[in-house]
Each structure stands twice: as structure tokens, then as C-alpha cells.
């Protein structure tokens, strides 16, 4: 029987872009740890027995093995450490690695530090760096950036599912407006305004059907999450700890065009899935996580989620992959405002990537932290009001997502 995995604390720096951030990467990590320590006075850095670092692109920092700088700076020399890199799912994958280490019983208290500094190059160069996680031999020079690949997938998905530009725009509006209650969110700190569907529809074309406000933000930011055994959780945060009751990790092709007839998907789900439109790795990893957590009806049993809205369209595609809706009712599911703060299953109350920001290596951890805050009753302390609190939430889902759906993880978190 594997050991129970708990989350007992965590924090991010403010997410931002350009020279307004205060931190260096190691300084930011130190501030995240200090905020976590302020929330958890009984936690000591001496209790850590493993550190996992979560960072996507060494291109941005122009520094190989930057985790060595952070680890040293935190005073942790001697502790075992390594870095996890798995595209946009780097944060989720680092959490997965930490959970495995706790489950095995080999480690007891693990810190995860994630970060990205995407403002070290121009926006268009930064987009190109990220696109180097496409197959550069075939796709980089003809697409050039990830939003184009996502737009091509979403264009067909929206036609196949009768979802309109306005439908997905409502998701971007929701997440940016949720971010207005979150002082660390990039949208709050930069553009700082409530928007409407018209604002999204009138924002400039990125790649049809995506406009600027349908897309997440490029960011700098650091995050820290504290993962541990239940014995340690009971000692340090007996009233506020959260358990990881289910988790799943799955993969799909790097080039989206290669998944049309992929044999292993055909074997698992039959012909025609995931096509170029559905996130098969999200579906399969969610199925694993649900099974482990004993969830049979996610729409009823999940209270909320923090999911990977790199684009408004991908959030909608994720709803389907998580089994919250199907081809018949996905459009109505969005129009019924099921995922707004007053809906049945609020999604991204923290603002998501569209509102909070997307410093890749920190992103999945940010989603985890927001989910943890909700379940441990910390939202009134961390957000500006209770408007983005999912009152009485018992169970949330964290979703982390890479490539064109190339690696996806899902975690079921429950209040203790």
C-alpha cells in the first residue's frame, strides 16, 4: 500500500512581464519559501529531504542547470535535488515526481520550486523559443508559434462541436475577470480591467479563431509547493492539509497531425479519436486520476478546477476531455455558465494562465497552489475578496498541459 501524499503549503511571486518584477530567480524562490513559512510557522527548511525543480526552457535564462543556483541560494546544499522538464506540463510532472517519491515512502518532505523568465527576449522571439518544443524539422519554420498549432486544432474542434468564437471568448472573460480578485495575477498587475466578450472579439488576430485576449500571457514568475507524507502534514498543518487522492499522466504525439490514426489511441478508444481536435492525453490521465480517487461522475463530484487555459479554446477542449460535457452538450455547457464562479463547477477561480499568467515551469505549481488555497480555506487571505472563493469546496482538479496536448497530467485534491 503506497503512502498518502499531502500538500501543506505553497506560494508564488507576483507573475509579471518586463522590469516590474522585484525578483531574481533565486530571490523569488526565497520569497515564495518565506511566504509559505509565514503560513506554516512549524515548517522548517531543515525538514526537507528532497528538492524538485520545475523549469522548462534554459533558453530564456541563458543558464544551464539554473536549479543549482536556486538550491544553493536556499541554503539546501547536501539535500538531493533534480530538475523536471516536460514542456507546459513541467509543473504537473514535477508534482507527479514528488508524489511518487512520497508514495514510495523513500522521502517525507519535498519542496518543489518552479519558474520561468520569459521576458529575457522579445515577445516574438519568446514565442519562437517555445515553438522549439514543436518538431523543429517540420513545424517551427512553417507555423512559427504554438498559438497557430492550437488555432488549427481549435478551428476544427469548434466546427465539430458547434462552439462559437463568442462561446470561447466567454471563457477568456471569466478568467481575466477572476484574476481581478487576485493581486499576484499578471492581468491584475498590468492591464487591470474587467472585460467583456466584445473586448475579446475585437482584440487583434493571433491565429483564427484565436484573438489576443483568447491567449494566455507570457510571464516571469516563481512558485513553491510543499508536498509531504500524512504524518508530517498532521504535525505541521493538521487543520489545513490537502491530499492528492488521484493522479494521472499521459502522452500524445508532438506533431498534432500525427495523432489522426495513432495505433495506441485506436487500441484504447477506437478509430477517429483523438482526431486532431481532442486532448487524448487529458482524457486518459483524467480517467487514471478519477479511478484512483474513486470518482465516477466528475461533474457532480468535483467542486472546481484549476486547469491549463493556454487558450480559451483549450479550456473548452479540456472540459470535454475531463468528461464534464460531450459533443452534444459542450456548447450549452459553456453557455449555461457552468464554470463561472456561480456555476456548478467553477474553473480557474485564480485566473488561470489567461489571467494569472504562464511562466511555464511555475504554471502547474500555481494551479496546484490555487487549488490548495481553495481547499484549505485560505482564499480570503490570499485573494482580495471572497468573490473568487469556492465556498465549502471539498474536491478540486489540477490540470497541467504541454505541447499540442503532448503531455498532460491531472490531480484530484481533497480537503482533509
Amino acid at each position: 500500500m503506497s503512502k498518502k501524499v499531502c500538500i501543506i503549503g505553497g506560494a508564488t511571486t507576483p507573475f509579471d512581464y518586463g522590469p516590474t518584477g522585484f525578483e531574481s530567480i533565486e530571490g523569488g524562490a526565497a520569497e515564495c519559501v518565506k511566504e509559505t513559512r509565514a503560513d506554516l510557522p512549524d515548517f522548517s527548511l531543515r525538514d526537507l529531504d528532497f528538492m524538485i525543480y520545475s523549469h522548462f526552457s534554459v533558453h530564456f535564462g541563458h543558464q544551464l542547470a539554473p536549479e543549482w543556483i536556486i538550491h544553493d541560494h536556499l541554503g539546501l546544499v547536501g539535500l538531493p535535488h533534480f530538475r523536471v522538464e516536460n514542456g507546459g506540463n513541467t509543473g504537473g510532472s514535477a508534482l507527479y515526481a514528488a508524489a511518487l517519491a512520497i508514495m514510495s515512502g523513500h522521502h517525507d518532505v519535498i519542496g518543489i520550486v518552479g519558474w520561468e523568465t520569459m521576458d529575457s527576449v522579445s515577445q516574438s522571439q519568446g514565442s519562437e523559443f517555445i515553438a522549439m518544443a514543436s518538431d523543429t524539422r517540420y513545424e517551427l519554420m512553417v507555423g512559427g508559434i504554438y498559438p497557430i498549432y492550437y488555432a488549427a486544432m481549435a478551428n476544427k474542434w469548434m466546427k465539430d462541436n458547434n462552439v462559437t468564437e463568442e462561446d470561447v471568448a466567454s471563457i477568456a472573460v471569466k478568467n481575466k475577470n477572476n484574476a481581478m480578485d487576485n493581486p499576484k495575477a499578471q492581468w491584475y498587475r498590468t492591464e487591470h480591467r474587467y472585460i467583456t466578450i466584445d473586448d475579446v472579439m475585437n482584440s487583434k488576430l493571433i491565429s483564427y479563431p484565436l484573438k489576443k485576449y483568447d491567449c494566455c500571457l507570457m510571464s516571469r514568475g516563481v512558485a513553491f509547493v510543499l508536498v509531504c507524507s500524512e504524518e508530517y502534514a498532521k504535525k505541521v498543518n493538521p487543520d489545513g492539509y490537502v491530499t492528492i487522492d488521484g493522479m494521472g499522466l499521459s502522452s500524445c504525439t508532438i506533431r498534432a497531425g500525427d495523432r489522426l490514426n495513432y495505433p495506441s489511441w485506436k487500441e484504447r478508444y477506437g478509430s477517429g479519436y483523438p482526431e486532431m481536435t481532442e486532448f487524448g492525453a487529458c482524457r486518459y490521465s483524467a480517467e487514471q486520476a478519477y479511478k484512483m480517487a474513486g470518482i465516477t461522475n466528475p461533474l457532480k463530484e468535483l467542486d472546481f478546477g484549476e486547469i491549463h487555459d493556454a487558450f480559451s479554446t483549450s479550456e473548452a477542449q479540456i472540459y470535454k476531455a475531463l468528461g464534464l460535457a460531450d459533443t452534444e452538450n459542450i456548447a450549452q455547457f459553456i453557455r449555461n455558465e457552468n464554470t463561472t464562479m456561480h456555476g456548478q463547477i467553477p474553473m480557474n477561480p485564480g485566473g488561470g494562465l489567461i489571467g494569472y499568467g504562464h511562466p511555464v515551469g511555475a504554471t502547474g505549481l500555481m494551479s496546484t497552489i490555487e487549488c490548495f488555497y481553495q481547499l484549505s480555506g485560505m482564499i480570503p487571505k490570499k485573494h482580495l475578496s471572497k468573490e473568487t472563493e469556492v465556498a465549502g469546496a471539498e474536491c478540486g482538479i489540477v490540470n497541467s498541459h504541454a505541447g499540442t496536448g503532448t503531455s498532460i497530467s491531472n490531480f484530484i485534491l481533497r480537503r482533509n
Binding site: 519562437e128 512553417v142 488549427a152 491565429s207 483564427y208 497531425g257
Partner: protein, 222 residues
């Protein structure tokens, strides 16, 4: 690839060693590898923050190895695919080993593909990476070439961005021979002969409205 043992006077070699004889250099004039160099800095007026500007320029060698016939094929104006001799699955982009687990990573065979394809899905880009900005707006399609089991991404030219349709027939058009570099950009798609766009509709009007400012903006890029 058979293992070739080359004997020469100096020493024995135990691996195949290609002899690169056909060389071309089309590096733009004035581009030099500088390696790492700091090229400037700025300091805030309160002297609390410093930004330093680092330039890094490095030549990479992309060794195509077993995938090379595809890229050499592009230079020759051909689209080469691969096919599994066991199950018959065919691919462009190519796979040198079969993806069917029952085929046990069977080595595939090279096949010449037709220069025709069909749109699987598409988008019209109004923003892109640094190297592509001046070509905007770009129509990117994922298209299936011949009996390939996968779709390949490339640009669609010769059509207004709002006229692209799912399932439309395409032909593959190569750049003139002397402009080819053995990269995916050596070819693009164009609508097949005789294909006519459908009449203007609401979605086409919407795309037109979104794309028009892109043409204007691109004119201002230096």
C-alpha cells in the same frame, strides 16, 4: 545502414563515415558567429536595477542521419514518405521505424508520394515568431498527402485567407530549384487546379475583418 569498416593508413574505423562532398553555403553576408558577448546594459535611475544585454550567436549542425532522404528529396522537388513493409502504414512526416507495436519497430521503406493533398484543418495567423512576422498573414494547413496516415503542416498560398475550406484539394508546389535549401519551407500548398472557393458568407466576412489590419501592420515592419 550496413556497418562499413573503413581502413585507411592512420587507423581502423568501426563506424560508417559519410563523406560530405556536395556542400552549399547560403549564409547571408555579414552574419558572423560571435559566440557570447555582452553588447550593452542599462541601469534604473534609482540605481537599484540593472539589465545586461547578451548576444549569443552559434552555428548548429542539424544532423538528419537516417531521416536525410526526406530532406534530400525536397532539394530534388520530391516528397518522400516511408511505408512499413509489414502493415503497410505510410507517413509524411516520415518514420524510419513503424509505430504499430505489433510490427516491433520494423524498419520502413522509402516511397515517393504524389504531389497532391487534402486539407484536414487550417488557421489564418496574424501573429507569429520573429522569423515569420514579415510573411503574415500566413495560412497554415494540416494536410494529408496521398495515403499518409498523418497530416503535415505547411503554408497554403494562392488563395485569400478567408476562402480556405476543410477537405479542399491541394497541390504541392516547390520553390525554384536554385532557391531550395532542403528544408520544409522548400514547398508549400496551393489549391488544386480547377478548385473554386465557395461564395462569401458570414464566417468569411469575419475572417476578412480580422485579417485586413494584419496586411496594414506588416507594411510597417522594418
Amino acid at each position: 545502414m550496413p556497418q562499413v569498416i573503413v581502413m585507411n593508413k592512420k587507423k581502423k574505423k568501426f563506424a560508417y563515415e559519410p563523406n560530405f562532398t556536395e556542400k552549399k553555403d547560403y549564409r547571408p553576408a555579414g552574419v558572423k558567429e560571435m559566440g557570447l558577448s555582452f553588447v550593452g546594459h542599462e541601469i534604473s535611475d534609482d540605481r537599484l536595477n540593472m539589465n545586461q544585454f547578451l548576444h549569443y550567436d552559434q552555428l548548429y549542425i542539424i544532423r538528419h542521419g537516417w531521416n536525410s532522404p526526406f530532406f534530400i528529396g525536397l532539394l530534388d522537388g520530391k516528397i518522400l514518405g516511408t511505408r512499413c513493409p509489414n502493415c503497410g502504414d505510410t507517413w509524411v512526416p516520415i518514420r524510419t521505424h513503424c509505430w504499430n507495436l505489433d510490427c516491433n519497430l520494423e524498419k520502413t521503406q522509402w516511397v515517393q508520394m504524389p504531389l497532391s493533398a487534402k486539407v484536414h484543418t487550417w488557421t489564418v495567423a496574424g501573429w507569429s515568431g520573429r522569423s515569420s512576422l514579415k510573411r503574415l498573414p500566413i495560412i497554415l494547413v494540416y494536410a494529408v498527402i496521398g495515403d499518409s496516415k498523418v497530416a503535415i503542416a505547411n503554408e497554403l498560398h494562392g488563395i485569400s485567407p478567408w476562402d480556405v475550406e476543410f477537405g479542399m484539394p491541394l497541390e504541392i508546389v516547390f520553390k525554384p530549384k536554385d532557391e531550395r535549401i532542403g528544408a520544409i519551407t522548400d514547398f508549400h500548398f496551393e489549391p488544386a487546379d480547377g478548385w473554386k472557393p465557395s461564395p462569401m458568407n458570414k464566417e468569411k466576412m469575419r475572417i476578412k475583418k480580422l485579417v485586413e489590419p494584419v496586411y496594414e501592420w506588416v507594411k510597417t515592419i522594418k
